[in-house]
Every structure is written in structure tokens, then in C-alpha cells.
């Protein structure tokens, strides 16, 4: 096994710990950085430092934030009566891209996964309950992933929250635009049929 000088080997090892990067990729990236201009490498280093120093979780919704609150929580134009519950901060970006939602979010930081031992205590559910009164929430949109864990999380939250007398809704599930019925799986198609609605003649 070739031994590289200490700092070089350290960087290769660190790179190799990143998700999806194996030993060969780690080596390739490291040598690319070594060859590239110093300022490029410094920019990367500074970006990493900046992220770790300046980004934390929003105290209200647990989205990633630069201040106490995230950009969305700080925005006065957002409606306050509606909360969209998502699993990860990444999901907010997906929902925001649609431009269809103007309320605030709540990031659970994961989903219920009994086999991996993730229970309700590990998620930000207590914090969500606290927000309901504080912000006078009328509607809660459960926007977790439509997989087994996400559905279980949505059902758990629905069971917990429905007795509180606010409207709890679940995002619809159906066929993707541009999809093909022939290749649709039974469960998705069955749900799409159940969730059908009168076609508007606008």
C-alpha cells in the first residue's frame, strides 16, 4: 500500500468518510484539489467552515437557519395558521419550488422507523405540539414521504392531533405527471383512483 505524506493521507481519509465516496474516489478528489489553484481549495475549505459555524437549526421549525429563525419563519408575508410537516429540511426546498404553499413548515428531522429503533421521542413532535397553540394553527399538512416510514409517521401524527380539533390533512398520492398507467404499481394506482375528483370546467 502506497503511503502518502501525512497531510495528503489525512485528506484522503477524510474524503473517504463522506457518503458515497470510496477509497479510489477519495484519492482522485484529493489529487484534484492538490493540483487545482490554491484559491479554489481555500474557497472550499472556507465554505465548509462557514457552514459549520453559521448554520444551525431554526428554533421554531427546525429548518436550517443562519439566525435564530429560518428565512421562512422570519418572513412576515407567510401565513401563520397553516403548518406543513416534512421529514427533512431538503423537503422544504421541494415544496417551495412548487410555489403552492404559503404557510410555515415544521421539520421532524426524520421519520418513525421501528426496525431501526426511531420512535416519536427522536422526532421533533413535542415541539410541533407546542407550536399548535402558540401560533393558533388551523391546518396541519402532513407532507412526509409516501413510503412505509413516512406513512406510519403521518398516521401517528394524525392519531395524535385529530382529537385537538384542527384540520389535519395528508398530501395526495397518485401518478406522476408524464407517467404511464401501464407501468403504475397497484398501490399507487389504487390510491389515485380513490383520490379522484370532479374535473373542473374552468
Amino acid at each position: 500500500m502506497p503511503l502518502y505524506p501525512g497531510p495528503l493521507q489525512d485528506l484522503i481519509d477524510e474524503m473517504g468518510r463522506l457518503p458515497g465516496i470510496g477509497p479510489k474516489s477519495a484519492q482522485r478528489i484529493t489529487f484534484h484539489l492538490l493540483k487545482s489553484p490554491a484559491e479554489d481549495a481555500m474557497r472550499l475549505a472556507q465554505a465548509i467552515v462557514a457552514v459549520k459555524e453559521r448554520i444551525s437549526l431554526c428554533e421554531r421549525c427546525f429548518d436550517v437557519a443562519e439566525d435564530t429563525y429560518c428565512v421562512i419563519c422570519n418572513d412576515d408575508r407567510r401565513q401563520t395558521g397553516t403548518i406543513c410537516v416534512v421529514e427533512e429540511a431538503k423537503d422544504i426546498v421541494s415544496v417551495e419550488r412548487t410555489g403552492q404553499f404559503s404557510g410555515r413548515y415544521h421539520v421532524l428531522q426524520g421519520s418513525l422507523n421501528p426496525i431501526e429503533g426511531v420512535g416519536p421521542e427522536q422526532l421533533r413532535i413535542k415541539e410541533l405540539l407546542a407550536r399548535l397553540e402558540e401560533e393558533d394553527v388551523q391546518e396541519l399538512i402532513l407532507c412526509t414521504n409516501p413510503n412505509l416510514e413516512g406513512e406510519a409517521t403521518a398516521m401517528y401524527l394524525a392519531r395524535l392531533l385529530q382529537p385537538l380539533g384542527l384540520s389535519v390533512t395528508r398530501i395526495a398520492s397518485g401518478l406522476p405527471v408524464g407517467g404511464d398507467l401501464e407501468y403504475a404499481d397497484d398501490l399507487t394506482l389504487a390510491r389515485a383512483l380513490e383520490g379522484r375528483r370532479e374535473i373542473g370546467n374552468a
Binding site: G117, N147, D186
Partner: protein, 241 residues
């Protein structure tokens, strides 16, 4: 290096890379199989919901040289929809999947275990019976060759039912008052366990949830944990019960 066709139940899935998943299945004739399903996490994936845990599927796979096979095509046999849309039943179903994942061996066909799992999930889909998962645990113990002895005291042979008051899987089954070890066991729970293993399963599954079925669930869970030498996270996380 060959294509294979088999039927199986998806036990668990793990994210892999950008949009792929590693799927663990219990198949009928290839034992436990770990396979990569490419692109499942994309919205337009051809696999869609088919490779979610609990799904009973027919699959066409490619067995490569490495550890992981590749999933080529999947068709659903049964999604057990009633199970996955009821929080209690998801918990029961997942606990069975967890047990099977621990017990099943790769490259080692176990058709009996496969049939039991499919049967148990089918029973759970039909009715929300609190006895499905404990009965499944006990039956798996029998299949594994560690059937608990319920006919008399494992230590002294005492057969008087009134005296059989304790259960300890390390000892191998029930114990009488003078030899007792392990956890206490009520006479009604003993009867229910005997019926479960003695051909009265259909009647047992009709039991409504009660402190008695909870007791059998606890006994069966502990016995299974001793056998696996590991906690059953899906039962213990207490999430869904």
C-alpha cells in the same frame, strides 16, 4: 452469474447513493436476498411502491458475483394494504419482518419460514388480531428447533397444570412452582400458548385484545429475544403500539 425468478417478501430497505435502494427480501427458494434496486427513489421509478417493506412480490433478479444481486423486474402479489394503513398492524407486521430478517440466512432456502410469513401477513391483513405476531414468534421458535416445552415442567416433569406457574426459554419451557425460574406465567396464558402451537391457531387468532393476549405477547417477545440474543427494536421502541 445468472438471472433468477422468485417470490419474496420485502423485509427492509436501505438508501443507497442518489436514488437507489438496497432491498432485503425473504424469498421462497433463495433464502434471504439482498439486492440493489436502481432508481427506486425517483418519482417516476418503474418499481414505485412495489419494493416497500411488507410487500409480497414476484421478482426477476440478477445474481452477480458480489454480495448484492440486482432487481430487474418486480410484480406485486399482495401489498397487504390493510396492514400498512393501520398503525397497530404496521407495528405487528414490522416486528415479524424484524424477526425474519434476524432468523433467515442468505443463500439458504427456508420455504417454511417464507410460507409462515406470507400466511401471518395475510392473517393480519384480514383482521387486526393481537395474537398474530406472538403466535408467529412462537411458531418461528418451533421452526428454529427451539420449541418451548409446554406439556409439563421442563425440570421435574410435573404435569399438573395448576402447578405450572413460570416460563423460561433458557430452561426450554414452562416450570412448576418448586422449580420456578424466569418470568411468571398465568394458567390462561399457558392454555393460549398450547392452543397456538397445538393446532388451534385459527381459534387463537379470534381472541380479542386483552391483558391475556398482552401477556402472551410479552412472553413470546422475551422468548424470541433470548433466542436471537438481541432486543426486538420494533416491539421495544413502543412507537406504534
Amino acid at each position: 452469474m445468472s438471472l433468477f425468478r422468485d417470490r419474496g417478501v420485502v423485509l427492509r430497505t436501505m438508501r443507497l447513493g442518489e436514488a437507489d435502494r438496497i432491498v432485503t427480501l425473504l424469498t421462497e427458494s433463495h433464502g434471504k436476498v439482498r439486492a440493489v434496486a436502481k432508481g427506486v427513489r425517483r418519482t417516476k421509478s418503474k418499481f414505485g411502491s412495489r419494493l416497500e417493506p411488507l410487500s409480497h412480490v414476484a421478482l426477476l433478479g440478477w445474481q452477480g458475483r458480489g454480495d448484492l444481486d440486482i432487481v430487474n423486474q418486480v410484480e406485486v402479489i399482495d401489498t397487504f394494504r390493510a396492514v400498512r394503513e393501520d398503525l397497530d398492524r404496521i407495528g405487528a407486521g414490522l416486528s415479524m419482518l424484524e424477526v425474519v430478517d434476524q432468523v433467515a440466512q442468505e443463500q439458504h432456502a427456508n420455504p417454511a419460514l417464507y410460507r409462515m410469513l406470507v400466511g401471518a401477513l395475510g392473517a393480519l391483513a384480514q383482521a387486526n388480531s393481537p395474537m398474530v405476531s406472538p403466535a408467529f414468534f412462537l411458531k418461528v421458535l418451533v421452526l428454529e428447533g427451539t420449541a418451548p416445552y409446554l406439556d409439563g415442567c421442563v425440570s421435574c416433569g410435573e404435569e399438573d397444570e395448576a402447578l405450572l406457574v413460570a416460563f423460561d426459554l433458557l430452561e426450554g419451557g414452562v416450570l412448576c412452582r418448586s422449580c420456578r425460574r424466569g418470568r411468571p406465567l398465568s394458567p390462561e396464558a399457558l392454555v393460549l400458548m398450547r392452543r397456538t402451537l397445538g393446532g388451534g391457531l385459527a381459534g387463537v387468532l379470534g381472541e380479542p385484545r386483552s391483558p391475556l393476549t398482552d401477556e402472551v405477547m410479552t412472553v413470546a417477545t422475551e422468548a424470541m429475544e433470548i433466542h436471537l440474543d438481541r432486543r426486538l427494536r420494533s416491539v421495544r421502541s413502543g412507537t406504534l403500539a
